[in-house]
Amino acid sequence: MRTKKYFEIFKINLMSSASYQLESFNWFIVASISTLLSIVLFRTAVSNNAFTNYTEESITLYIVLSLVLNRIMDWYFSWSVHVAVAEGSIATVLIKPYKYQLTPLIEEIAHKVLPTIPYFLILAVFILAFNVKISLSPLNLFYGLISLVLATILRILITYVLSSLSFFIVRTNSVIWFYEWVSAILSGRAFPLDILPKVFLETLKFTPFPYTYFFTISFFIGNIPKNFNFVLFFVTQIFWIILTFFIAKFLWKKGIKKYEIVGN
């Protein structure tokens, strides 16, 4: 019965997303321009030998893939939860016969489905425009896909942790902005982490960030060191998922208990 309710929420939001095509197109163009700028900047840097571990082709592929994976991996429902908590509208949803926690996630999935399709088109356009040759082995594709699924779960859970903060802090705008900004840099979404001095990447391995974008894209572009320990990598990814799950669950439970609303 519950599944049917969630499906209805999904359906309504999917229809709503389909009716704002111009908005999706606008964001698509914005994202494409920022990707194009990154490509121009990093290709020029690589052609001037600024980064020796990337070729013009591999850096282009890295940046374009980060644009597409951004649509799959990044979640923004912490904003809607923040508004619902701050304005008190969450109170009416909490008493409905389904779990509120899943609602913002389902809404966002529905709003992501249709606008994500053109991003695969832009991937093809950039690959053709910059004449990028892809040499993806089936094994790397397999590792990449598993890493993508796990990284997406991890980022959803991190978004839940951020959402839970709305119960404790009156205004979380800057906290969310700060997380999004830090995450773009430290996860390798903005640029590959192995162009940084080695000590940075080694330190970042103790955080969940590089286990999302950087390694996943590295699998897809085949930029993995020969002695790379795949087992340790996936175990670490799963460890972060479990840890974040319990933190999110704890904070959400605490937050709901603490939450108080007065009004009609």
């Binding site: 321009i33 020029t44 940084l196």
Partner: protein
Amino acid sequence: MKLLGIKKFLKIYYLGNKYGIEADMEYKTDFYFMLIRLIFTTLMVFGMVELFFINTEELNGWTKQDFYLITAVFMLTKSVFELLLIGITEIPGDIKNGYFDRSLLKPINLFSEYTSRGRSAYVLPNVFAYMCILIYALKLGGRLNIALLIYSIIITCIFYFAVLLFIISLNFFANFQANFTDLFREIMEFGRIPPSFYGKNIQIFFTFIFPVFSSAGIVFLVQKGEIPAYLLINIGIVILAFLYFSLKFWHYSIRRYTSASN
């Protein structure tokens, strides 16, 4: 519409911003994170420029000092615009929500009303942060003609204002859910990168037709002697033409505005 006296405008502008900043500071955790983000963003500029020049002396003829300067000038121009004129981007939201009438009925100039609205506490420290980067670049040995810098900031702010006003005016004709001002802001980011990084056609387009490079690139092209200084006047004329056309379109659009609400 009657133009405000400069003294009255400055007073309203000061009060609007004072209350805006005070309101932001009410939320302490949020405010501290805002400051932390500002510090990190500034440090990031240093980090990125240093990173690009670890293994190389120059990128397409642009040295580290040039890179610091172009980034600082671009960001400074953008933050000066945000400090002075960004308030006009609130107009589409007001039109959609039916609040625009309130501003129309006030006994002050409409643009003065919007530009003096309280903005985030983030904006003023932003200007200082980019000025610090600029000073650092000059200390590294970078060269910058101050008169050119001031000219560039003024014409770029006029250009941003003109294009945004045109985009905002479109909201009188259709109720757009999409925010095209964000699209324009992203296009302006082309000015962050040195012009020689792009192909020739893009360089011509963003220099003379849609002068995005007015924000920083042109200043350095003139300084390097790659384009003659008199072309800056031509670019200024193009921008003034943009402003003239946008103002005409704005006045035409605002006459079409009708409001129905309680």
